[in-house]
Point group: C2
Chain length 268, copies 2
């Protein structure tokens, strides 16, 4: 058997997330995983199951998600990419493929993952980026009083410092299935940028050894609420210690969340 | 009466072009013009007709289209932008407003216009840009034999030199209404760029004193066919002289065409 890792870029807007939903017969694939497995089955002439580095929710995008699979035939990288990409929808693209050791596991071998969350700071965002930005002045999750209000980045960084490190992140998830809610957040960066269109946005980037269900969206909501003065860094610290979901900030919408990369040890 | 010019950015993907379609009562606006006039009527409490610098077809985008209108009330720029943008859909945005002399006319006062056409040179384009790129390997307009084939930029520039200048562009339009098909193309630039995602694209940019119906899309098709060796620069020259549509290249799809800017004399 051969063992391959693929990296995948996708616009999640029109998909029901990464993971296959149940074991029903799917006539029209509606998840990223289903689409890739269908394309692989077309190439190999038999069902191929892929194992992703983790799930992404409906509407979440990826610049470089990873997955691995076993197959009987050896792959020629260039031909394979050409063949599979022509079988995939426009919004899903395999960007690379490489052979990996038998013991490699997309999820378990990963050292860390990096996510980014994008927030519009313009009264009305760039028309070409709007669908990828969270707008804090609009429903359903409205955090800013008015469009002139800018978040206080210094306070956000103070709260980010509190959240970095190894903690029980029970206050930052709605998960009920994982054995442990302890995770390590290695880095949080917060930057603003103004594009030539005049569109200003804020980017929050998170690197951690793993993220719980909804964790990045709740971390983003908590930091942004701190920026808008709805929470103080001290309250963020208390929320973390309380391990109670209701003490942390809002779960921001999925459309502005990107899985940027999954990091592996160099020898794998 | 006050007289204002607005600049407008729009993602044309979901709209039936710029111009109001006929004089029917429109319950749900389906053009850019209709949407803006509806928003202006809401602000001024009476119908306001706008005059655009020109039409853009269904699916065509704009970074900075211009239009002007007369109204009875004076506008405060910041309030006006805030109010009108919150009334407009996410895909249409007024980026600026300024008072202009009475004699100003969005179309007639314009000195030149600049359009850009984007072509994917990757086997499969970046998933976030795919809808804004023309893919020469795919139907409905398939110009390249295979995805490994790259257009010859030097030949394209040779053909571009022939097209620059003042000519009768009858071979490059399907228009039957204009009195004259003579236009001046001041500049054509052709560049390629590779993004960090690995996506490579070609940009053709056209500046002219006016463009006929479908002219930029046919110029783009003609240049690209020259790049792929389907036309020679000599044939482009003959096509121009022939004033016969069938001698020029294909009309490329609208989704990859952007109106970049409309230029006015500094005193207006």
């Amino acid at each position: 058997m051969y063992h391959y890792m693929i990296t995948i870029s996708y616009d999640g807007s029109s998909w029901s997330g990464w993971q296959t939903q149940g074991r029903h017969v799917c006539l029209k694939p509606n998840t990223i995983q289903d689409n890739i497995e269908l394309a692989l089955a077309g190439i190999f002439g038999e069902p191929v199951r892929i194992c992703g580095s983790g799930r992404t929710d409906a509407g979440v995008h990826a610049l470089a998600q990873t997955a691995d699979f076993f197959c009987k035939k050896q792959i020629k990288s260039k031909n394979f990419l050409s063949e599979i990409n022509s079988a995939l929808p426009e919004t899903i693209r395999i960007t690379s493929v490489r052979e990996v050791p038998e013991k490699f596991h997309s999820r378990k071998s990963a050292v860390s993952k990096t996510y980014a969350y994008f927030v519009s700071l313009s009264e009305k965002p760039d028309v070409f980026l709007a669908k990828y930005l969270y707008n804090p002045y609009l429903p359903p999750v409205s955090l800013a009083e008015n469009s002139a209000e800018e978040p206080d980045i210094k306070k956000m960084l103070d709260a980010a410092k509190i959240l970095c490190g190894t903690h029980d992140f029970s206050a930052f998830t709605t998960d009920k299935t994982e054995k442990s809610h302890v995770r390590t957040v290695m880095d949080i960066s917060i930057d603003t940028k103004t594009l030539s269109s005049g569109c200003k946005y804020l980017k929050m980037q998170f690197t951690g050894n793993g993220f719980l269900y909804n964790m990045v969206r709740i971390l983003s909501g908590t930091l942004l609420e701190t920026g808008y003065g709805k929470l103080t860094p001290e309250q963020v610290s208390s929320a973390l210690k309380s391990r109670t979901r209701s003490n942390a900030g809002a779960t921001l919408p999925s459309n502005a969340l990107f899985l940027c990369s999954v990091e592996y040890p160099p020898y794998l």
